[in-house]
Amino acid sequence: MPAPALALQDTDGKPLGLERFRGKVVLLAFGFSSCGEVCPITLATLAGARKKLGDDAADVQVVYVTVDPERDDAARMKKFLGSFDATFVGGVGTRAQIDRAQKGYGISSTKQVYADGNYTIGHSSSIYMIDRSGGLRAVMPYGHTVDDFVHDLKILLRT
């Protein structure tokens, strides 16, 4: 099954679509830079998996799309993702572009506003695994370990 298309911008201002990563295994996830719970753990896990893969990591691309385009501009996402792994690519865009990307993968997100006007966002936290030819091959629910990702990535890298 082909992975649903993405039509966003990356954190360098270039168009971001999945076709750019043909030949690599893509780990696609959605989150936001102000997230204090799920996103840092997910990103640290994905960075750990790449590190553990050694040379094979060159064929694994993490793409992290914001669900908070009002706050996450390219510079902010770049800084956030770079603190985990400099190779991670961030996806940003207008609210309409992000909505389309979320809908394509069934990613729900709901804003919870605090009394001081600040807010957080509850969002779907699964990681989508896309093979070298752009096929959506698996979904990894939140909470899996570095070794779980390394195990599955090795299988996907062989195919």
Binding site: M1, P4, K103, G104, Y105, G106, S108, S109, T110, K111, S124, S125, S126, Y128, L136, A138, V139, M140, P141, Y142
Partner: protein, 143 residues
């Protein structure tokens, strides 16, 4: 105690014993091993609007050898994720269980993002058959 009065007690007692015997010893069965749950159209839109109403039960109970196959059908126009699977609009997902246990899955159709499937062993003993029938009757009544 008069004979008529004895009869008033003996007949219902005998009927209750026959019913209990049937419930405990007759084989249990269900029309299908598939337990179907449909994710209706508009589920994603409701989740995005912050609607916390549960569309599917947060805990689904299955019984080995009877209804031990979970069947999910995505009638929404947006993909839904269940555990390690993504169901595109119109797709179904069939998951047979072979071991009695409690299983937790990520599920985007739930406000909590989680769903538990409790798989119970086949009711082989008379008492477990009775308990299974009573629960089925109660759940059908309240469904």
């Amino acid at each position: 105690m008069t004979g008529k009065r004895r009869l008033w007690i003996a007949v219902p007692l005998a009927a209750a014993l026959v019913a209990l015997g049937w419930a405990g010893f007759a084989p249990v069965s269900v029309p299908s091993r598939d337990e179907l749950f449909e994710i209706p159209k508009g589920t994603y839109a409701r989740r995005m609007a912050g609607d916390k109403v549960e569309i599917l039960p947060s805990k689904i109970r299955l019984t080995l050898g009877l209804n031990d196959v979970l069947m999910l059908r995505n009638l929404d126009d947006v993909p839904q994720v269940f555990g390690p699977t993504i169901m595109m609009p119109g797709q179904s997902f069939r998951l047979p269980f072979e071991k009695a246990a409690s299983y937790d899955f990520a599920c985007t159709a739930h406000a909590s993002g989680q769903m538990t499937v409790l798989v119970e062993p086949y009711p082989a003993m008379p008492w477990s058959k009775i308990r299974w029938r009573v629960r089925e009757w109660w759940e059908n009544r309240t469904r």
